[in-house]
Symmetry: C2
Subunit: 156 residues, 2 copies
């Protein structure tokens, strides 16, 4: 039996490109070229492919949350009030820009959110908005300090 391709990286060069652009998304093709030892054209073609195949899904600036007025982060676990109802909480909450991430999880709660707000008062307002928008209970864990986050996901 032929083994399935375990992931969508063709080879070590693709992995090197992903690593380099994960470390600095604004790196030029010339810099990426130097990093992996291929011509600029070849790197450009590979980068395009990585984007179209969905390996690279976008490019983001990392922004200091305090600098943009959102110094308070929290994990909010949510659970539907009525477990019988169809559950589309992620969609119902998508319009709330304070929510940075939404995962469904194993364990006591149904979803884990990561949120960022300006103050405890804003956190209270957001939690109320979450509860009423998605008909859920919430369990909130305040982040006291972030040591690191958004470390690059490196190809194995």
């Amino acid at each position: 039996m032929v083994p399935d391709t375990p992931d969508r990286l063709d080879d070590d060069i693709d992995a090197g490109i992903v690593r380099a652009v994960s470390h600095d998304a604004r790196a030029t093709l010339a810099e990426l070229s130097a990093a992996v030892g291929l011509s600029v054209s070849a790197v450009q073609a590979r980068l395009r492919k990585l984007e179209t195949r969905g390996v690279i899904t976008g490019y983001r600036a990392l922004v200091d949350a305090e600098s943009v007025g959102k110094p308070l982060a929290a994990f909010v676990e949510i659970t539907p009030l009525d477990p019988g109802q169809p559950d589309n909480a992620p969609e119902l909450l998508e319009h709330l820009a304070e929510i940075e991430a939404c995962h469904s999880i194993a364990g006591d709660s149904a979803y884990m959110l990561l949120v960022r707000v300006a103050s405890p008062r804003h956190l209270e307002t957001l939690i109320r908005a979450i509860r009423s928008a998605a008909s859920v209970n919430t369990h909130t864990t305040v982040v006291l300090q972030t040591f690191y986050e958004n470390r690059p996901i490196l190809p194995a």
Copy 2:
């Protein structure tokens, strides 16, 4: 009394630049210039300042975790075995590349980690490594599905 600057964005134009580069970190200065209505040079100078002031701390490619062989994510809460000891768990764990984020938190546990691994077996190995490296108990919540994450932090 003069109000303290609440954050480190000078004005709406800086906010616009941050928003634009958060949405697409590979946008050219010309594109950013068009987005905020300033000359290319002025945008470049502002972007540099935002970087040196620490408002923008870097640029990352968003990588599909499954495509690079890490389809399994989990939240790992950790608590020191001996609460009397000096606690430098974040440093002790920093060398583990599977850890994407480390926050200290309020509540039952001391820290919340976000980790990504290839399989349940790798998760077990990682949890053992975390326990022995930082002398902690762990409480793990597996991520079943990620609806969204890394949504941009927009200036208020």
